[in-house]
Symmetry: C2
């Protein structure tokens, strides 16, 4: 078994939900069957949209520190921050790319267009990765883009209530109405508001995909 | 704000539940208001009951590593392993003692006797700490002691289902029948099966007490 290093805190609730998923996906009859996880849950990483250079430097330092305390595989349950992944990869450990893993997982569900629920930064990453694989991205339009960010910041304030859930479900519906035959939950706050059962087409949850990939990589 | 170092994995699910509590108890309008947490979730710490010396050495090494990556306050959401706390304290950081904090929290509810739901090792720590404060411990008797451990190992196998919850509730009831005017959830697996509303007397949850103490210590 290999030790998983988690670059977390973007956001904090999404990181804890991710850890719970890793455990739920690990076949275990007792404590010792679980994966060892060293984590830096750092809610003070500089803003990935407005200060990308500083964010990358901080993520690079976090990755190196995780390596010094025994991490053998790295993962980061934040899609947006994958724009800064070069800093993390500089630590020289295997880094499980959440965007690439999620795009691979959506391929069997490619039916016309693939909807993206993500921040502007995460959306740009998914858009490029989907197009590179010949898939057609379906994006939120107009005021729905702001409505999405309002949902995300709601979760970061601690609001996973019914109104916020309904708002996220409406946004998934807008993507389907615009031609999406599958939807990517491409922000780790999304699954805190939206379950597969809430969406009429396959929902590919990036946090679930990453957790599964971590279990495979660490138990290999 | 100070960085919290968490010695976790004993067990894994209890550690994740503890992290969620720390966040729930942190007043936050966004990511940056949350506490930074560096964690070693180590499900392979040697058995605290059968190999206490090796366990203490491993916990000491974990504490030192957490210090090297920036921890300023240490906490361990496992009551039983507090028998090995000397190893952790050797790192020279403030260590929030979960047993002491929980006993302080139960004092206002001291009404005759204080029931203890804990492993044999954790029970011994609580018994000594309660008696040192002039309180009367009420212990599980006979086969109920084995029934308690079956509940705990159930959680560690991933079973937090209705039967396991009912079994834990029955054990709390046995302590009340034996004279407990308050019950300590003195094992971090207990709150995964038992809520305050399930118990007819005040339930003092050691995981909740520790989470609250961590928030106070790190936001001071």
């Amino acid at each position: 078994m290999r030790t998983l290093g988690v670059l977390g805190g973007m956001g904090p609730a999404a990181t804890v939900a991710f850890l719970a998923r890793v455990q739920a996906l690990t076949p275990a009859q007792g404590d010792a069957d679980h994966i060892r996880v060293v984590m830096d849950l750092n809610p003070q990483v500089p803003d990935r949209n407005t200060r990308p250079g500083e964010a990358e430097a901080e993520l690079a330092a976090m990755a190196l520190r995780l390596k010094t305390v025994g991490a053998e595989v790295l993962a980061m349950p934040c899609n947006t921050a994958h724009a800064q992944k070069a800093g993390i990869e500089a630590a020289g450990l295997p880094f499980i790319d959440m965007i690439a893993a999620t795009v691979a997982a959506v391929m069997p569900h490619n039916a016309g267009g693939v909807g993206i629920l993500a921040t502007p930064g995460g959306e740009a990453l998914y858009r490029a990765a989907l197009e590179a694989e010949g898939m057609r991205p379906v994006l939120l339009e107009g005021t729905d883009r702001d409505a999405f960010m309002a949902c995300v910041y709601g979760v970061k304030r601690g609001d996973s209530g019914a109104d916020n859930r309904a708002a996220m479900q409406r946004l998934a519906g807008a993507l389907i109405a615009a031609g999406a035959g599958a939807v990517i939950a491409g922000c780790t706050e999304v699954p805190l508001l939206l379950a597969a059962a809430d969406v009429a087409v396959p929902l590919v949850d990036s946090a679930e995909v990453l957790a599964q990939a971590c279990v495979v990589a660490c138990r290999a």
